[in-house]
Amino acid sequence: MTVSTTETLAIRSGDDVVRVRQRVRALAVDIGLGLVDQTKIITAASELARNTLDYGGGGEVRAEIVLAGTRRGLRLTFEDRGPGIADIEQAMTDHYTSGRGLGLGLGGAKRLSNEFHIESTPGVGTRVMIARWK
């Protein structure tokens, strides 16, 4: 599996969430994702970017176009140095939120992606990786 392009976007404000969405949309169009898949990865990116901002206190996202054989995919890695998540299983549960949202963001992002990986160390930060393949 090779990475063909990589770019990093900062997530520091609500406007950055919009920028992340627009950039992800452009990349999703680039690799030829269909309209439904585009919408899915954009929505998942929107959820995770907002989590990075609201719960991680800001961070960054690395967007990569990955090639595996003839398949192309979009991989997004969200990283923050926030308080971290103590109980990941609980955080993934639908309708659970430590803030004021609907509590569907993390679980939703997982359902909207082909690949989902989360790791978090309390006090160090959180990293969430998602990928969508064509």
Partner: protein, 292 residues
């Protein structure tokens, strides 16, 4: 011996006024400000003359501290110029160059006056550099502040313009949403809608999200809040314009919109008419058509 740079500078500006102004005007003329056609040469020269006069005045009252009290008038003039430049759409470079273009003529004049005395020359150049740099930065600060004002105002205008509440029929309102639905905009949307419900005595409000590119949990949450608030006001809501890809995404997200929804605004309007006891019928065929 310590040489007072301000004094050297002031004397040079007074004695060489005509030459410096002339050179400044030439430099301004060659700059890009005039080429853009946004300002006339005469206007630029008038501004240059006023600024030059005030700079002389400020230097004469003492000191090269451009933040001091006696520079207030000059700073105000420059601020006015900067503001008008920002509104006229000049680039930051053009705006800052107005002041920075004065450097070369002044340095040149200092060189002519004090060529034999290196200490004097250095002191004069230092003083001129310090004053002009500070004034240049001041113009930039004002320029940026004005631009931010413009952007802020545009943002507000967009927020207001992009959330109109449309009366479709007696008691039926439509709220076409366009663009990103963040917390601030939701506030505006909700306020507009609730006020319109009161004003129009509306029974049904149709929220159309055809123009919302991404519906994530935050947007869904905002929608649900708006619907709940409208219900409290006695109006039922119908959400329309949910595109197929958005519908699929929302299902995966696990968001449940506990509200009547329709694919298009037309469908929602038809439903609203039905609920208020109306229906749309085709005009009766004419007699001639019937006979055929």
């Amino acid at each position: 011996m310590r040489v007072d740079g301000a004094e050297v500078l002031e004397r040079t500006l007074t004695e060489d006024e005509a030459a410096i102004l002339e050179a400044w005007n030439i430099s301004l003329r060659e700059g890009t400000s005039l080429q853009s056609g946004r300002i006339r040469e005469a206007e630029l020269q008038t501004q240059a003359k006023i600024v030059f006069g005030q700079l002389q005045g400020a230097l004469a009252s003492g000191g090269i501290d451009a933040d001091a009290e006696h520079y207030a008038a000059l700073r105000e003039t420059l601020a006015d110029i900067s503001r008008s430049r920002a509104i006229q759409g000049f680039s930051p470079t053009d705006t800052a160059n107005f002041i920075f273009a004065l450097k070369e003529p002044i340095f040149e004049a200092l060189r002519r006056k004090s060529a034999v005395d290196a200490t004097k020359l250095a002191a004069g150049v230092w003083a001129a550099g310090k004053v002009l740099d500070r004034l240049g930065l001041h113009t930039m600060e004002v320029f940026l502040a004005s631009r931010e004002d413009v952007i802020g105002r545009q943002g507000q205008e967009i927020a207001e313009l992009s959330t109109p509440v449309v009366r479709l029929w007696d008691g039926i309102l439509a709220l076409p949403l366009i663009g990103t639905l963040d917390s601030a905009r939701t506030g505006v949307v909700m306020e507009n809608l609730l006020q319109a419900i009161v004003d129009e005595e509306a029974e049904i409000a149709i929220i159309d999200i055809t123009g919302v590119p991404t519906v994530d949990t935050l947007v869904a949450q905002h929608l649900l809040k708006t619907v709940a608030a409208a219900r409290l006001m006695g109006a039922d809501c119908i959400v329309s314009g949910i595109r197929p890809q958005i519908a699929q995404t929302m299902v995966h997200l696990g968001v449940e919109l506990n509200v009547v929804s329709k694919a298009t605004l037309a469908d929602a309007f038809a439903l609203a008419l039905k609920r208020t006891g109306r229906k749309v019928v085709r005009q009766q065929a004419t007699a001639t058509e019937e006979r055929r």
